[in-house]
Amino acid sequence: MSEPFGQYLRQKRETLLKQDRAYTVRKFAATVGVQPSYISKVEREEVGPPSEATIIRMAEVLHEDPDVLLALAGKVSADLRQVILKRPRLFADLIRQLKDAPDHALLRVVREVRDGQW
């Protein structure tokens, strides 16, 4: 998770390319809606990560979680930003307190859809 965004992007795209020619730089760029040269630059870390909308589009095309790609790019999605801004102190505190918690403990705070009496 700590690898640079461009490196991660390239590795995911090339893994998919082994099975599907739709993941050449040219075709991937066309599907995402950017220039192939831009993809090459992003993958080589010659430019900074793309905009949030482009990263979300890339995640869809690569079947990746957009939050993971955004995090690698040092960004937080607009919807998460809104959530945090409503109660910034509380969420900052919550995240700091949970930073070292193991996955199984974090899963306990994930909210489930409640089932009731039908």
Partner: protein
């Protein structure tokens, strides 16, 4: 457990298998004409917003809190389809299989039966199998034909629930998912070298919640509901999860949730006139179920309206789809008949 992620219900069963994860989302779509012609599959126009009912306890009927679950907004006479997805299992070249039972107003959408716990193959299969069944657009009325899910107010006599049971009690959608047993999954799919190859004002109704909606049978559409290719004993009935999906009228969604509802979708005529594609799905490896007599015997919304002297579906003109895109089994994960706004309105570029 069931979580709500980006407007999709995510059913996960880590106690069965780490990859036993099923997602179900609710796609906005065109309402196909209810004119007794058979239409191809309409597109997906994006997900309906879905919210926890508990977050709006002060604004929803008490019965919704008793039921638990989630809610979504639909305009009267708006249509919807269910989009299923399950996670690929590494080294097994397949998504994890699930048996999924869907009911509307607690009437089974596949068998027409009233609510029963568990899944059944006799006298008629009452569930769909995912990933074999990628979507469900309506009620199984004939072999290869469904009637589209169309939202109507509960209590006005149109919904499937009212037509089959004579009561307007539940409304909404009910979904239950069962994963395949882990040992069966591992036996059937052994590890191998990976080769990933009217939008009108609500009608008056007599029920507890004036905004409660149910689903009713709309126009006819070509869609096969597949026979379970596995054994009924392959499903892990000890690990089912279920969710009640309440439907509220979009006209009051803002009052209930504080958010604006999605805009009204285009009519079939507007969509077709714009030259946009419809879809056909082919899967010659799975056998379609026969339709259900009870479901086939229901009156469509227009037929019921005629009987009542109402015009329940505005803008119900017949259309002749000119561009029909064939989709075949074997789509990559994440590929659905989804309309993508970011792309041009070119049939070649609509995601398939």
């Amino acid at each position: 457990m069931i979580e709500l992620k980006r407007d999709a219900l995510v059913f996960s069963f880590p106690e069965v298998h780490p990859s036993a994860v099923l997602s179900v989302d609710f796609q906005r779509t065109l309402r196909i004409p209810d004119d007794d012609k058979d239409y191809p599959l309409p597109p997906g126009l994006g997900r309906f917003p879905v919210r926890h009912v508990d977050d709006y306890a002060a604004n929803v009927p008490k019965s919704w809190i008793e039921h638990g679950g989630v809610m979504l907004p639909m305009y009267q006479a708006e249509a919807l389809w269910l989009n299923f997805g399950s996670e690929d299992v590494e080294d097994r070249d397949t998504p994890y299989p699930f048996a999924v039972m869907i009911a509307t107003g607690k009437v089974n959408a596949v068998s027409g039966g009233t609510w029963r716990n568990g899944i059944h193959r006799r006298p008629q299969q009452d569930y769909v199998v995912v990933p074999e069944q990628p979507w469900l657009d309506g009620y199984c009325v004939e072999k290869g034909i469904i009637r589209q899910f169309v939202a109507m107010p509960l209590g006005a006599g149109y919904t499937t629930e009212e037509q089959i049971t004579g009561k307007a009690e539940h409304g909404g959608l009910q979904i239950v998912a069962y994963p395949m047993k882990r040992d069966v999954f591992e036996r059937r799919f052994p590890k191998h070298q990976r080769e990933r190859v009217c939008y009108s004002a609500p009608m008056p109704c007599c029920c507890e919640a004036p905004s409660s909606m149910g689903l009713a049978p709309g126009g006819r559409m070509r869609q096969e509901i597949y026979d379970d290719p596995y054994d009924i004993s392959d499903w892990d009935l000890d690990h089912g999860s279920r969710c009640f999906v309440h439907i509220t009228n979009s006209m009051v969604w803002r009052q209930v949730s504080g958010e604006n509802p999605p805009t009204t979708p285009p009519t079939s005529k507007e969509y077709t006139d714009a030259g946009l594609p419809w879809f056909e799905w082919y899967d010659d490896k799975n056998n379609p179920l026969a339709g259900n007599e009870a479901l086939a015997g229901m009156k469509s919304v227009v037929q019921m309206g005629t009987q009542k002297g109402d015009v329940p579906l505005p803008e119900n003109q017949s259309v002749t789809p000119q561009h029909v895109t064939a989709l075949r089994k074997g789509l990559r994960r994440g590929q659905v008949r989804e309309f993508e706004e970011q792309k041009t309105r070119d049939s070649q570029q609509i995601y398939m």
